[in-house]
């Protein structure tokens, strides 16, 4: 966590003790659906530096970030190229009719991670599941960032009534039990990948709205916005050309953590049987399906659970690293 920016000698912001309810409120906890996890950006301040005992942390967290990056790349590549791997058996049970079920993992066999109760290949399931998780996580975050970002931008920049209306919208979304919203959306529009993505995207709208609002508010008060206005720039131009570029980085670094949140949310939904149904493999429905045989075949739950854990951990770690790199200069989250 040692990140000192020597070019900013005075890192203590005079207003940093001022209670800003939006600060914490914009953590994903605000939106963690299905009691999903909420991860919090660490707006490391320039001089947030290790204690008297040597900054050992940077190296350690650097290693962590590298591992996280490696794992994420692995998962992304897997999800991208799974179609070209001989793993179709993992999602089409009619191809797996001849495959014995609940094969134990054996790295040297055709089914390195074994097969599940349906004879479906677990490795393949994990990769197809990765695709679902990534699409849901990244897609949902895109939806949330676009919608919530637009709301937050307008609210934070304009303030006044606009702000109030947006805060009513976000508060209503937050006050509404997220799971009900999810189930309802998923039931109204079938549990397909785009719909789940959309539903989870809506879940994170308030989080983004708050984050962007807080940032927009702080940047809207900056002198350079006044300067742009003095040049005759219109409101839209200021919002898009002056304010937005400054918000992109914190939003971006925050998004990693929200991806993690959404991946867990999707897994939880899957676990409850409310997301993309079997036989299309997702990590959550793999865990759910394996749970009945947990005692006998622990790997049915264990393998997808570990992959889920590592992926979520990686995204959180990347988010942390990104936040450390990009957020300090931005408004406090």
């Amino acid at each position: 966590m040692a990140d000192t920016d020597p070019t900013r000698p005075d890192s203590t912001r005079p207003d940093s003790t001022r209670p800003d309810p939006t600060r914490a409120a914009s953590t994903p906890a605000a939106s963690g659906p299905v009691a999903g996890p909420a991860v919090v950006a660490d707006p490391t301040v320039a001089a947030a530096t290790p204690a008297r005992r040597r900054p050992r942390m940077p190296r350690l967290s650097g290693l962590g970030t590298a591992l996280a990056l490696a794992w994420t790349v692995l998962i992304v590549l897997g999800a991208l190229f799974v179609d070209f791997l001989p793993l179709a058996e993992a999602r089409d049970p009619s191809l797996a009719l001849m495959t014995p079920s609940t094969l134990a993992p054996d790295l040297l066999s055709d089914h390195p991670l074994g097969t599940d109760g349906q004879g479906l290949d677990i490795l393949g399931g994990l990769l197809y599941g990765a695709r679902v998780s990534l699409v849901v996580g990244i897609g949902g975050v895109l939806v949330g960032a676009l919608v919530g970002g637009a709301l937050g931008l307008v609210a934070g920049y304009r303030g006044g009534w606009t702000d109030r209306i947006v805060s009513i919208i976000t508060d209503t979304l937050l006050a509404f039990p997220s799971l009900i919203l999810l189930i309802a959306i998923v039931t109204v529009l079938d549990p397909t990948l785009p719909n789940i993505t959309l539903a989870l995207g809506i879940m994170v709208v308030p989080a983004y709205a708050r984050l962007v609002r807080a940032n927009a508010m702080s940047f809207a008060g900056r002198e350079f916005v006044t300067a742009a206005r003095s040049l005759g720039a219109g409101e839209l131009r200021i919002m898009l050309r002056e304010v937005t570029p400054n918000i992109v980085q914190p939003v971006f670094s925050y998004s990693f953590m929200l991806v993690a949140v959404l991946i867990v949310a999707e897994a939880s939904l899957s676990y409850l049987g409310l997301s993309i149904p079997r036989p299309e493999p997702t990590w959550g429905n793999m865990i759910s399906a394996g749970q009945a045989d947990f005692q006998r075949y622990p790997y049915l739950v264990g393998v997808p659970a570990v992959v889920l854990f590592l992926t979520v951990l990686s995204f959180n770690q990347l988010g942390e690293a990104a936040g450390r790199k990009w957020s300090p200069g931005a408004a406090k989250i």
Binding site: P93, L97, L274, R278, Q291
Partner: protein, 512 residues
Amino acid sequence: GGGDDSTAAAGGEGLAPDQSERCTEDRAGGTITVGEFSMLPSFAPGQGQYGVRGGAQSAAVYDRLMVWNPEAEEFEPKLAESLESNDDNTVWTLTLRDGVTFSNGDPLTAEDVAFTVGLHKDPATRSVAMTEAMEITEARVVDPLTVEFTLADPWAGFPITLAGTVGEVIPRDAYEAADPQEWASNPIGAGAFTVADFTPDQETVLEPNPDYYGGPVCPTLKFIRIPGSQGTYDAFQTGEVQVGFLRGAKFVNMAQDDEVRGFEEIISSGSVINMNSGKAGYDGVLTDVRARQAVAAALDRDLWNQRLYNGEGQATSALVADSSRLYDGQEGPAYDVEAARALVEEVKADTPDWDGTLRMLIGDGPENIEAGVVAKALLDAAGFTVVIDNAPVSQVTARQFTGDFEIVIGGLATSDADPAAAFASGMLPTGATNITGIDDPELTAAINDLKAAADLDAQKEALTRLQEVFNEVQPFTVMANAEQYVTVSDTVGGLTPTLSSTVLYDGAFVTE
């Protein structure tokens, strides 16, 4: 599996609890906690259904006119003194036990029995036994202790009606005087227990009824909801419940492997795949019998068994389990994927606008979904393209009413006591659970013959005939027998099993 046992209810490997002892004065006290899949929704008439859905609770409070004794394989009178039929089993005369009183002190009378039948026939009551009750065209009060039931058709298995929900007598005067809402949680019955506390969908606490005619009654009963066999079995093992209900071969075997005492029940046609053959205006491909036959042939029961029950279930395509007393070598359609494929091609050729798609409706819940996945795999392998459609259970139910499905996984609640009732309900055009919309005269005739069959041999013969017709018509296809197991803790005695894994607690006691 207990497939080889001759008595279905006796449980495998001699694990059936001893039923010879019952509650005595010195065994009074104690609490038995029972885990239920879903709770008795309310004590309103006709809500209790099987062991799964609160049957034991309502039976404990109302008692029943008759009971099925799985060991003796016969119906025995309980609140009744006797039940006699005429020669063609169309008129049945019930004599009540004298001196039975309800928990409010009123005596049990024939009026009450007739009133109860009327209640069940009234759709507004929403009785689960409405179809059965409709079989009774008239319930005539002969004298205060005698009722005469006239049936629409000859039915040798009629006692099953009185051994089920319809046999739970509602005291007319008290019921008419009470507020239905109040009754739902605080009923008056002739059973061994009275309701001490009722939290819908969570907990029901029953206390011994000191005036129970068959007394004494020992324990307090506490029914709690634990959805799913896994949770129930976990709770049973940690001692949180003393009686638990398990469903599915996997858990039944698990319990038996652990040498857990209990009552096993094997349900013929307990696991089926229903095919919409015209319900509520459906006119899709499954109205073509060849398509249904293709489905039946495409399904490899052994694989199904392997995938869903680790090969430990009782896979069969026959209507009757081979462990049943009624089994007489009946056979369902054989697995033949080539034949299935050929049929699909044939139908495709004849139905140009059908591309092989089948919409499969599945209720939420991991077990249903896994079953759906296997079915999809097998059907896809035969040339169908199955599209899985997940929905919450209420939606599945509703869509079955409205015919908005093509195939749906389900099961019949047949009982060895009288399989005709369940078959009639599932396959007669008027049947309550006829969700496939099948209306086939030959099938109807075969079922009516089965109902009328007066003795075991006749029943076996009728069943064989039914199986033949069934194999042609294929309104649904049987995948396996269902297995249920009521685990009973060693600390509990005096339980008696009856129809559909319902346990009677009037003799129950707690040891130690």
